[in-house]
Amino acid sequence: MEIGVIFAGFGGQGILLAGKVLAQAAMERGFEVTWLPSYGPEMRGGTANCTVVIADEPVGSPIVDRPQILVAMNGPSLERFGPRVAPGGMIILNSSLVKEPSVQGNARLLPIPLNDIAQELGEVRAANMVALGAVVKVLGLFPLEAAAEALAKELGARGREKLLEVNRQALWRGFALA
């Protein structure tokens, strides 16, 4: 088993964090994981992405050509990574920003209004966690609680504990919608 997940979006959408929390959660549940970010000036182009691989054997390449899951937080990400999603894979699409998805390939499309949900929760920056909740559901490898714990750890390390509650809710909302 080796599953690739790509998170992609604009800079500032919490792409790298969502990926890291996923990797952390999977690690804590005993999986082999890797996390690989886009890096360098690419990030200043206003976009960011990262790739998480979850496996039951040591991970070979942290680069994933054909991800099973893509989280496309905006239009350009869908355009760029959508066609690469593995046949039968899943695209979690931020339907708050992408109204008319243009590319799709052979993947299933799961539109979730990530921004709107986050806005509802009172913290637009939690859109990434809505997405992550959905990813955890789609993956079906471990309970959402694992992600919530990993998130708590990560926010703790950054001194952002007070954001925990809203992000937790975001996770649940995403989980529920997927």
Binding site: V33, T34, Y39, P58, V59, G60, S61
Partner: protein
Amino acid sequence: MKVLLRGNEAMAEAAIRAGCRCYFCYPITPQGELVEYMARHLPRHGGVFLQAESEVAAINMVYGAAAAGVRTMTSSSSPGISLKMEGISYLAGARLPAVIVNVMRAGPGLGNIAPAQGDYFQATKGGGHGDYRLIVLAPSTVQEAAELVMLAFDLSDRYRVPAMILADGMLGQMMEPVELPEPIPPGRIPPKPWALTGAKDRAPNVVSSFDLDPYRFREILRALWAVYREIERNEVRWEEYATEDAELVLVAYGTMGRICRTVVRRARKEGLRVGLFRPISLWPFPYAPLRRLAERVPVLLTVELSAGQMWEDVRLAVEGRAKTPFYGELGGVVPTPEEILSEVKKHVRG
């Protein structure tokens, strides 16, 4: 306890745990997190973090700190490492222990910041002038990166030969679970009676790579080469995976080593008898084990992120005993397991 760390961070933390107390650097992608981590953590351990005015200055600061007897390190990426070539040759000539991390990116020139393995020759054959060698260790996981950094400090001190960690942008940037090695006990660093600590109650020490007289200098270099021979005897490291019954063995190091491991698994699933030989010490290169392998395996396929650099060492090891095809990528492109597998299939059938 396992923690999730970037390769760059793990190498930095490992250096601190190895007792590195002077770190000199100049920023460059894709090893920025190593610099950043050191800036944040080294001073807390009483160490010196200093951002130099250039890579040239940084390596010469390393020369100074090493001469003073302290465990010291610098890190950079390909173009920055090229600038250190004179300084590295000086370190080697002056018999100073030091660790240099190269998180390789694609070259030549400014190239780009994607992972590559185009600095193998530079690292293993001497990109600087003169006859010298570096101990070159190539990790393929974040875990191994941490361990090899610690080993690099030990070996470098033991032999008074500078050591290089040859990683690449992928390994530097990716996060993976790591079990961090324990900090070394204070006593583990060997005494350095040759270091510049002030000529008190002893004759003055001199750190130098200079002798105008060729005959005297020859003696110095013969002694150095005797040490190199010793290292070649003692410090060859490699890993074999599924080679016992293999009809084809992939030879790959670092990032390509780990990807080829996946290739082996997939090939085996398809019933192909494929194995992996992964050199860990690039110098000393595992010539002998590879030659032994070549006696029984008909095809050794070298896979590199380069136009074929380690490949030459593979061919030197094999000397015609087996077929030695090559598969490489240029420019920062990392081949997928599938691509490599289809290359494998050209040489072996199920």
